[in-house]
Symmetry: C2
Subunit: 202 residues, 2 copies
């Protein structure tokens, strides 16, 4: 499957939620659009990316569309991710349950602890030395970086050594990564600044 | 000033940090580009958006460029923002000090508390009933929404009543806002899902 645009991906949980409530063997893009308040062109485009075109005058086969949506959202094979840096932000992400809608679960965190601890939500926080072994054993591909900037490159290197292929970094520094590792830098301060910039100066 | 692109805005702290270390009345885009590892065309474009063009063969007047950068980053007039919902994510944002680089400070949080409490970082968390009065008194324009989805619209309405003109929402729901209020929805689960989607399926 080609990778979906972020906008399309963002609408998939809404399609899935709605389709789970409808009966009938087929459903048209028009009725989906109406129920969700989306444009019909957008619905057709989204669903084409997910499952191919509907049949003229008949629409989509409800069950197979449901299956395709679940597959795209990774719900049949929930992916496990790990997190490094169990400070406030790290713990907030670790115990956030909204990731499950998109088929990802943070299964463990790593930090400078001597023995395993549990987060408030009951997720394990292991000594950072155990990251590599844990990732190998569980086939982890995604690492979330919530350590301070000063430790970010070192921990990121450890993620790469642990065979992680995508890093989501909240650390406010540039990171050097091999070309085959995907990096997504989240700069929350910049998002806030950009919002402020859209207001006129006082 | 026109609003800057998010990418340009994101580079301004680097320019500022560098310019604070240089001596000399003038500085060229070439030397800035070299010092920061940016492309020269990009530097010229960024600085044109901030301060106008440099003079041929002379460059930019260092001091006035510094002033313009500080102004664009709001450092001469630090803007205060408020936050509603002092759960884990809310407290992580409240005590995060990276916002200051961009001239924004979260000065207070509001939640269902009976009396004022302090966060770990020493920021006040007030009863939510006091939001409107606080915002009026302090001329607050930016509100950060980190309440659960079920409370988001109600608290958002309260922000609008408090004269807030930009809302940064982490709540996983759609919000109805007057047209003159800017909304930025942060969907962290979607960011993670999009990263996952860039990897091939296992």
């Amino acid at each position: 499957m080609n990778s979906l645009s972020k906008a399309t991906l963002g609408r998939l949980p809404a399609y899935l939620k709605y389709l789970r409530t409808v009966d009938g063997e087929h459903i048209s893009s028009a009725s989906i659009a109406k129920a969700l308040g989306f444009g019909e062109v957008q619905v057709r485009k989204d669903l084409a990316a997910v499952s191919g075109k509907g049949k003229p005058k008949i629409g989509y086969e409800t069950k197979s569309l449901l299956n395709r949506l679940e597959c795209c959202l990774g719900l049949e094979h929930r992916e496990q991710a790990i997190l490094a840096g169990a400070g406030k932000l790290g713990r907030a992400l670790l115990d956030y349950d909204g990731f499950a809608d998109y088929g990802v679960e943070i299964s463990a965190a790593f930090d400078c602890v001597k023995t395993m601890q549990l987060s408030e939500g009951g997720k394990p926080i292991y000594p950072i030395e155990e990251m590599q072994d844990y990732c190998f054993r569980n086939g982890i591909r995604i690492g979330i970086l919530t350590v301070p900037g000063s430790a970010a490159q070192e921990v990121c290197d450890l993620m790469v050594k642990s065979n992680i292929s995508a890093v989501w970094s909240f650390a406010p520094v540039s990171l050097k990564l091999p070309e085959n590792v995907v990096l997504l830098r989240e700069n929350l301060a910049l998002s806030l600044a950009h919002l402020q910039n859209q207001l006129s100066r006082p």
